[in-house]
C-alpha cells in the first residue's frame, strides 16, 4: 500500500459551494494524546513514532472501538518543529531496531509514514484507506471528514505528531552555513525568524487601527490560564506557570513586535482522533461531535509577505466559506478555537469570522473585555499553542471535548456549548472545521 497525498478535490477552497454535502453525517468520537516533552530524550519509547502509536491507541480506547473495526488512517507525514536530523549524523540504531521499519531509517524518528504506523500497530488489521493530509492537523481533519463523508472509510483515525530535537529552533542546516543557493537566498539572506511575517502584519494592524502590543496581554494571560487547565498540554504537564501581563510584556523580543511568548514553544507531542459516520458513532463510547463543514484557504500573498489588506480580505473570505458550508452565521458560534501560534494573528481570524460581531480593528479592544471560559464571549478556550505548546491540535481537541461536555476545568460555563470552530494555521492558507453537538 502506497499512501497518497489528499487531492485538491477533497478541500473546500471556494465560496459559493453551498452547504457541505456531508453536513452532520460525519462525527468525531475518540480523542487520544501522548505525554508531551520539550525535546526527544533519545529513547525508543519516546520517539515520535512511539508517541504517535500511544496517541492512536488512546483515541481508539476512548471511542470504545475494536481495532479491527478501523478501516482508515489519515496522517500528517511531516513532524518537524524546525528541528532536522543533521546530514551525516549517525543513525540511532537502537531506536531503529526497536520498530518494524520502512525503507527510510528516519521514519518514526524525524518523519512519519502511514506504512510505518501500520507496520507497528499490528492490531489495525483492516485498514484499507490511508491518506496524507500535509501540514498540520487542521488539514488532516478536512481530509478525514471528507473521506468519511465520501464513503472512502467508515471508521478512521487521524493523527498529527511533532518531534523536537536538541538545538535551537531553525538554527542548523543552511542557516548555519556561509552561503545559500540562489533561490532561497532571495527570501532568506535577510534573516527573518519564523514569526517575522506575522510581526509585520501585526505592526501594520497597530498603525492602521491605533493599537499597541500591550493590548495582547489579556489574551495571552487568558490563553495560558486555559492551557493550564489542559492536562494533556505541555505547560500543564511540565511548567505550570501563569503568564501575567508583567511577565508577558517583559519578555525579550524575537522579531519586534513579536516577543518570546508570541512564539509558541516547540515540543514533542502527538494527538489523534477517531472519526466515523454519524450513524456508526451512535454506538461508540463517547458522545459524537458532528462536523457541519470544513473549509480551506489556499490563497498565497502576491509577493514576499502578506499585506494587511491581503490578510483581511482572505480571513473575511474564509469566514464566509465556513458559515456558508455549515449553514450557520456568526451568531451560532458558542466559542471559537482559531489558531494562535503565532499569537499575533489570532485577532485576524476572529475579525474574519466576525466573532461576537467584532469588525476589523476591534479584536484587541475585545481582548480587554471578559474573554474567559466563564463569560459570554469565550476566546480560545483551549488556550491554543500559547497555553499548551506547539501542536496545532489543542484547538480541535477542545472543540470536541467542549461539545461532549468533558473539557473538565476548561469547560465553558458562560455559554451553552453547541457549535464551535477551529482551524488554521496562517491567516492566508489554512483549513477549518465547524463542530456541533447536534447533527442538525
Amino acid at each position: 500500500m502506497t499512501t497518497p497525498t489528499a487531492p485538491d478535490a477533497m478541500y473546500r477552497n471556494d465560496e459559493g459551494l453551498g452547504i457541505w454535502e456531508h453536513r452532520g453525517k460525519v462525527a468525531a468520537v475518540g480523542v487520544g494524546h501522548a505525554p508531551t516533552a520539550r525535546r526527544w530524550d533519545g529513547r525508543p519509547e519516546t520517539c515520535v513514532g512511539a508517541i504517535t502509536i500511544d496517541a492512536l491507541r488512546k483515541a481508539i480506547a476512548d471511542a470504545g472501538v475494536a481495532p479491527d473495526q478501523i478501516d482508515g488512517l489519515v496522517v500528517v507525514p511531516v513532524t518537524t518543529t524546525g528541528a532536522f536530523w543533521e546530514a551525516g549524523k549517525s543513525l540511532p540504531m537502537d531506536v531503529i531496531q526497536s520498530f518494524n521499519q520502512t525503507d527510510d531509517p528516519l521514519d518514526g524518528i524525524a518523519k512519519l509514514s502511514a506504512e510505518w504506523l501500520l507496520a507497528n500497530m499490528p492490531e489495525l488489521t483492516n485498514v484499507q484507506f490511508t491518506m496524507y493530509g500535509p501540514g498540520c492537523m487542521s488539514n488532516a481533519l478536512n481530509v478525514t471528514a471528507q473521506a468519511v463523508g465520501d464513503g472512502l472509510t467508515h471508521t478512521c483515525l487521524v493523527v498529527k505528531s511533532w518531534h523536537n530535537f536538541e538545538g535551537r529552533y531553525y538554527q542548523g542546516g543552511a542557516n548555519a552555513g556561509n552561503a545559500l543557493p540562489g533561490t532561497p537566498a532571495i527570501t532568506q539572506l535577510w534573516g527573518g525568524p519564523a514569526s517575522y511575517s506575522t510581526a509585520l502584519q501585526f505592526a501594520e494592524y497597530c498603525r492602521k487601527y491605533g493599537k499597541h502590543h500591550d493590548m495582547m496581554a489579556p489574551f495571552m494571560e487568558n490563553s495560558r490560564r486555559n492551557g493550564l487547565r489542559f492536562p494533556e498540554g505541555y505547560w500543564a504537564q511540565h511548567r505550570p506557570e501563569e503568564l501575567g501581563p508583567e511577565d508577558y510584556l517583559a519578555s525579550r523580543w524575537i522579531a519586534k513586535p513579536a516577543n518570546l511568548f508570541d512564539n509558541d514553544i516547540p515540543i514533542m507531542m502527538s494527538g489523534a482522533y477517531l472519526f466515523s459516520t454519524a450513524e456508526r458513532a451512535q454506538d461508540m463510547q463517547q458522545k459524537p461531535v458532528y462536523i457541519l463543514n470544513h473549509a480551506s484557504s489556499n490563497t498565497r500573498p502576491r509577493s514576499l509577505v502578506p499585506t494587511l489588506d491581503e490578510v483581511e480580505a482572505d480571513t473575511a473570505r474564509t469566514g464566509r466559506k465556513i458559515y456558508e458550508g455549515a449553514g450557520i452565521t456568526a451568531e451560532d458560534l458558542s466559542f471559537e478555537n482559531m489558531y494562535d501560534g503565532f499569537s499575533l494573528f489570532h485577532q485576524f481570524h476572529l475579525e474574519g469570522l466576525g466573532y461576537r460581531g467584532i469588525k476589523f480593528g476591534e479584536a484587541l479592544d475585545f481582548y480587554q473585555t471578559d474573554i474567559s471560559i466563564d463569560g459570554p464571549n469565550p476566546v480560545s478556550p483551549s488556550g491554543g499553542n500559547v497555553g499548551s505548546g506547539r501542536s496545532r491540535v489543542w484547538m480541535h481537541t477542545d472543540c470536541i471535548q467542549q461539545l461532549q461536555g468533558r473539557a473538565g476545568a476548561r469547560q465553558v460555563t458562560g455559554v451553552k456549548p453547541e457549535v464551535g470552530v477551529s482551524g488554521g494555521p496562517m491567516p492566508l492558507g489554512g483549513n477549518y472545521t465547524v463542530w456541533s453537538a447536534s447533527p442538525d
Partner: protein
Amino acid sequence: MAKQGVEPDELTQPFWDAANEQRLVIQNCVDCDRLQHPPSATCRDCDDGGNLEWKQVSGRGRIYNYGVVHDCPVRLLQEDQPFNLAVIMLDDDPGVQMYSHLPGVPVDDVPVGAAVEVMFEPSANGQLVPEWRVIDG
C-alpha cells in the same frame, strides 16, 4: 552586515548576474504583463505557465513595513542583532516586495513610507546583493 554568500542556481542566475552589474531585474510575465517576486519557474497567474522574462526596474521604492530582529536564525547575522528588517515596495509595481536591512537607518527608528533606492552590497562570497537606502525622510 555580512550576509551569507549566494550560489546562483538556474532559476535565479539572471537576477544575481544583474546584481553583480548593479542592476535590479525582476521576473515579468509577458503574457499577463505582471511582475512577480520571488521568482518561480512559471507565472503564478497564467494557467499555462505564462511567458517569463527578466525586466530591469527603476530601483526605487517605498518602505512598506518593518520589524526589528533580535533573535535571528542565520548565524552570520547574529553578531549584528538587533537589526532592522524592512519590506520595500517597488515604485514600478507596489505589489512587489523586497527585503532590506536599511543600512544607515537607526534600529527601530524606521521611516515607514519613506522613499528608498536600491544599492548593492557584497555578501560573504562577493556576490552583490540588492539593498536599499533612504533618499528622503
